[in-house]
């Protein structure tokens, strides 16, 4: 495979992703600002805006919050990193093949 080293770097980063979960906890930091669910919003301002509540649960992602049912938090995060990378690479190849310039065969 071309650029094999770069793919190995990606694999290394995948293996390191649990640190992306551990680091904020270590420093007592919460999640990203403004990415709360309707219940959390209710806790913060005392009510959940009607439209927000209606749309917020529109889609239930299979691996919500980068967790995998039946696994621990860290292993779920790692498995999510793997699943997500495979999905993105596959879609990346499909979309890439669709849009790329067709070189004339020589």
């Amino acid at each position: 495979m071309k650029n094999k080293k770069l793919w190995l770097i990606l694999l290394m980063l995948i293996i390191l992703t649990p640190f992306g979960l551990i680091l904020p906890k270590l420093f007592g930091a919460g999640g990203a600002w403004g990415e709360w669910g309707a219940q959390e919003i209710q806790k913060i301002i005392g009510y959940a805006p009607l439209g927000l509540k209606r749309l917020n649960e529109l889609w239930r992602a299979p691996f919500s919050g980068y967790g995998v049912r039946g696994t621990g938090e860290l292993s779920g995060y790692l498995i999510s990193a793997l699943i997500g990378s495979v999905l993105v690479v596959v879609i990346g190849f499909l979309v890439g093949r669709m849009v790329a310039r067709r070189d004339k065969k020589r």
């Binding site: 650029n3 890439g96 070189d103």
Partner: protein
């Protein structure tokens, strides 16, 4: 910076879908001329790198956390249109499979982190390189562009969220979608990006470009 479902009203998320869709089409038209089939693996790799990078959350002590996006690195290696598509793919998988960012707000997230983050950073990179493209200058320009790009994306996100209380209200007068006004969203989001996450993006972009200049100099567009 991943706006969830429910934070934007239909005028905003619909409007941003309506802007994103023709830009995706334009990107594909552009890549038909500029992206070689042999570069497709690099596009897939870049999209995955961006996906993984966004899983590395960095904290502001006692506050919130955030992450880099890789937008400007991708634009330097793949060109801005391919980078925009790669980011859009990563954001779509994040929304659908992991609930990171909403479905209604996917157009907004692709416009903020994808389009605006990529093009603002890439333009600055090109401006900074004008006339002089020594390796040292490329590395510094890449870092500065990374810092700028993620902050432009963050500011757009904050504005889209902050205008919600201005443009829609429930019958009782309370906000219908994101309840926080601009005076809250802009400082809350920009503080973290100007002080921490912007520098994470800058460091990552510079280090990655420095490595590529050494190991794969052909990949860096001068």
């Amino acid at each position: 910076m991943h706006i969830p479902d429910g934070y934007l009203g239909p005028e905003t998320y619909g409007g941003l879908w309506a802007v994103a869709a023709p830009l995706w089409y334009w990107a594909s038209r552009n890549l038909k001329k500029t992206l070689a089939v042999s570069e497709v693996p690099l596009l897939a790799l870049g999209a995955a790198l961006s996906f993984i990078l966004m899983m590395f959350n960095f904290p502001i002590i006692g506050g919130t956390s955030g992450h880099a996006t890789g937008a400007v690195l991708l634009s330097i290696v793949l060109g801005p249109w391919a980078a925009f598509l790669a980011l859009s793919i990563a954001l779509t998988v994040q929304a659908l499979a992991f609930g990171d960012g909403g479905i209604t707000s996917l157009g907004a997230n692709c416009m903020n982190m994808g389009f605006a983050g990529v093009f603002s950073g890439y333009l600055l990179y090109r401006l900074l390189l004008k006339g002089n493209a020594s390796n040292r200058r490329i590395v510094i320009a890449a870092g500065a562009a990374g810092y700028f790009g993620i902050n432009v994306a963050a500011l757009l996100t904050a504005v889209e969220l902050g205008i919600q209380p201005l443009i829609s209200a429930a019958p009782d007068g309370r906000p219908l979608y994101n309840p926080f006004p601009l005076s809250v969203t802009v400082p809350a989001i920009m503080l973290g990006h100007l002080t921490v996450f912007g520098f994470v993006e800058a460091a990552f972009t510079s280090i990655a470009v420095a490595y590529l200049l050494k190991a794969h100099p052909g990949l860096i567009k001068r």
